[in-house]
Symmetry: C2
């Protein structure tokens, strides 16, 4: 029921997904009266779907705390619950990001030994796709959490974007080891000292994201959210400028008409928001957020991300690396679960940002 | 002597500046043997310049601490010193940013009642130019420092970009007052409660930078540096993509040739690194950093920024607002100079980022 369009986008996307991902079946949580006509129109979607009716849903402007208190029985809530109960292996939603994060944390809880969830963005770059995380699940992150993000991000890139041994960088204001604040310097030290299933390359800078210098860029949720939205704003600015420029004179317009096919393809490639499907990593279950404005192809791409994760070795890979971490480098000698508390942070104070 | 090119770019830029800014004169600190031939080639520059010879200079890769210890007598050092001694009213350098910041802080010290310097970037947007600060002078900023950045950024936008009453926003992961970490929430409160010479608009998000929602975007130096470099990377990616796209087929190439004039103009407008001249605000004196790779026109644009600041009411405007701030809202009841120390930060630990 989520997103700007609801069933008229979600149902056709299932038909696309069914074709691309043989063997995948869907539990559709939502209003049967709105889902059924769409399913009748798309028999390929109907053939792989089962509707779980509810007429309750969470509005896009609802606050996460409100959604947690009042969301029980809503389509979003039921979808996450079906994941916890083992009826589904992954959950995809185009709904309210804050509510999805809050309800998922409440129902699924964190995966073994992980402290904090992270939202990962798949960012188009000069070389392919770079996973950037966290882009908004948290507003502050200590060294231990940044290290966890590196582990989760590498497992994600491996599972979804197919790199055999992902390269990972930590976002900073310079590349030398002594640069940056204490959290990034400590995370850098731990990642350098621990033998992990990925290739840690040290600090990277903002420019390195678009250059595709590494497969995974790790940062705190505040910085990651600002970087992602700054890039989204700039991409839209570019897109407007192209339109204005290419209609600025009859000659430019003629050139634009002739090159229009190529220009259209380029615009689709450039917006960091366009590679759809941002998983909430770190939970006991696979939850993928689709852009609210995604079309059927976009929503199908979020389904592909969820399927790739569900069919991969993702969770085992994270566990394996977490164990190496604890074996080699216990942070401050305290168990990891306490490190966050010691910094005086309560989990409740970290809202999700969309 | 600084930047990728040195005298062959700096000297011709003086000829351009002399024409655009009547009455401005220059003290050129550097190697006379390299400056003289350039001045002979550009009589318009020679007419307004005086050379102060030194054959010592700071290399681009030199660390700030090293530059402070060994920089005495270098061209950069002497330029800043001539500012302190009242021989010059502003200093422009295309040299090593970290060294420029460190030496300027050492020689000039902070302006009255200000805690920390900030580097400001003039960012092209859909509506004009937005000043973003801090983009790298600090790596962490508390609420009091963010408020100072707002005051300095507004005075800068007024002096250099001509807005009568600048609009100011605080960068965050959402627009509601309860969003974000403690530092931004506290700074938001102070800015809302104090009557200042600018129009404070509350929180803005990353997308708002390129949209030009406000004239001044305030953030800590870590986030600002990452945002600026992320945008620079994306701008370069975008520029490459245009080239690749428009040569991808004979038809696209034809379109590109026809529209090339308009496309070239657009590219020049888009790169956030192209509006040249990033002042180091907050010091007892006007110091402007030019991009190392700037050409003569770019360096002349940094000279214009320095001149606009020197000829404006900039410092008085900052003082006026700082006084209102202390009158209305003393932070934590402690004098501002101590607030930074209370957080356990030492000025030495904050390196500059380029």
């Amino acid at each position: 029921m989520g997103g700007d369009h609801g069933p008229p986008v979600v149902v056709p996307s299932l038909a696309l997904a069914a074709q691309a991902l043989p063997g995948v079946r869907f539990l559709l949580h939502g209003d049967e009266a709105r889902l059924k006509p769409e399913l009748d129109r798309h028999p390929a979607a109907r053939a792989v779907s089962e509707v779980r009716h509810t007429d309750k849903f969470i509005a896009s402007e609802e606050k996460p705390a409100q959604a947690m208190r009042r969301g029980k029985g809503s389509s979003l809530w039921n979808a996450v619950e079906s994941l916890r109960d083992g009826e589904a292996q992954a959950c995809v939603s185009a709904g309210n990001t804050g509510a999805l994060m809050a309800i998922s944390k409440l129902i699924l809880r964190m995966g073994a030994d992980l402290e904090r969830p992270a939202i990962v963005a798949s960012w188009p770059t000069m070389k392919g796709v770079t996973a950037v995380l966290d882009v908004g699940a948290n507003i502050e992150s200590d060294a231990a959490q940044l290290v966890e993000f590196a582990i989760m991000g590498a497992a994600f890139h491996h599972a979804v974007h197919g790199s055999a041994r992902p390269t990972v960088g930590l976002l900073n204001v310079g590349s030398e080891d002594q640069k940056g604040h204490e959290e990034v310097r400590e995370a850098n030290r731990i990642l350098r000292e621990t033998p992990l299933d990925f290739d840690y390359r040290g600090f990277v800078e903002g420019t390195d994201i678009a250059y595709g210098t590494v497969d995974v860029v790790v940062t705190d949720g505040f910085t990651g959210n600002v970087a992602l939205k700054t890039a989204e704003g700039l991409a839209r600015f570019f897109s407007n400028e192209i339109k204005t420029t290419l209609t600025s004179s009859p000659l430019a317009l003629l050139g634009a008409l002739i090159a229009s096919g190529a220009l259209k393809k380029m615009r689709a490639r450039l917006d960091p928001g366009r590679v759809n499907g941002g998983p909430l990593l770190g939970l006991n279950g696979i939850v993928v957020k689709s852009h609210g404005g995604a079309d059927a192809r976009g929503f199908a791409s979020a389904i592909r991300v969820a399927t790739d994760l569900a069919r991969s070795d993702f969770t085992a890979e994270i566990d394996r690396n977490l164990k190496r971490l604890t074996a080699v480098s216990p942070i401050d000698g305290t168990p990891k679960a306490e490190a966050g508390d010691a910094a005086g942070r309560s989990p409740e104070s970290h809202g999700a940002a969309e």
